[in-house]
């Protein structure tokens, strides 16, 4: 199952894009409660959002974003049936991509 959940909503001629990504977003200063060892940093570094084939958002994110990050953006216009592609890359090189059709 993909780690990205996407919801879109048509509002006043605009399209709201909301996403929820399952990710620990560890900043590397937390300690394991049992072993007291530092938990290594593990967070999303790059977020890319495409509308059809155009890149509309590129984001550099850090570990100051909460665990299981949520983002929302508003696209001017947008039609039913448009394709939204969201992908992320984290600091350990993991990746995920998810596509969504505007409804």
């Amino acid at each position: 199952m993909s780690s990205i959940k996407i919801r879109t909503k048509r509002m006043d001629g605009n399209t709201q894009i909301r996403m929820l990504i399952a990710h620990p977003m560890e900043h590397g200063r937390n300690r394991d409660t049992k072993t007291n060892a530092l938990i290594p940093a593990h967070f999303i570094q790059e977020l890319t959002i495409k509308h059809n084939k155009n890149v509309i958002i590129t984001g550099n994110t850090g570990a100051n974003i909460s665990k299981d990050p949520y983002f929302a953006f508003t696209l001017k216009g947008g039609n039913v049936g448009d394709k939204i592609t969201i992908s992320w890359v984290d600091n350990l090189g993991n990746k995920d991509t998810q596509e969504h059709i505007v409804n």
Partner: protein, 156 residues
């Protein structure tokens, strides 16, 4: 018995010697430690981050940036923030938290197809100002808002 006592005295003398050296070493340079504290104050880290990100660009305070964030956050692990702006031709939005160990939260580059609107959730370590820098094709604008955090978001 006497051997034991001698060993004990020897050890205690040696130990107090060490502790004198240790405290002396710390106290010997009050100026140095004062400098170190000045360097690590958070506003400086914020200024350095801004400098590194925007390279001496002029950043102007603006009231056209609206930050919606709770005034007091009970739990610093997840503080919702929504940034909107009435500035024209917005190209990027950056969010920074003044007192977090690493101030930069995120830097988004938005294409012209997007409204100047970003919403997300933040981790905030302690009560601090949250600054937003909006990049337009005419220049850089900033606004900030203070948040009181009752339970820090970095040790959790």
């Amino acid at each position: 018995m006497t051997d034991n006592r001698r060993a004990f005295i020897k050890k205690s003398v040696a130990f107090s010697g060490y502790s004198i050296i240790a405290t002396g070493g710390l106290l010997a340079s009050p100026e140095a430690s004062a400098e170190w504290l000045a360097e690590t104050t958070s506003t400086d880290i914020l200024q350095q981050t801004i400098k590194r990100l925007f390279k001496d660009q002029k950043i102007i305070e603006s009231d056209k940036i609206d930050i919606q964030i709770p005034k007091t956050a009970e739990n610093g692990t997840s503080v919702p923030i929504t940034v909107t702006s009435s500035l024209n031709n917005v190209e990027g939005i950056s969010i920074l938290i003044e007192k977090n160990p690493i101030p930069l939260v995120a830097k988004f580059e938005l294409s012209s197809d997007l409204e100047p609107f970003v919403s997300t959730r933040l981790k905030i370590a302690e009560s601090s100002a949250v600054a937003v820098i909006v990049e337009t094709n005419e220049g850089f604008y900033t606004a900030s808002k203070k948040v009181i955090v009752t339970l820090g978001g970095c040790e959790l």
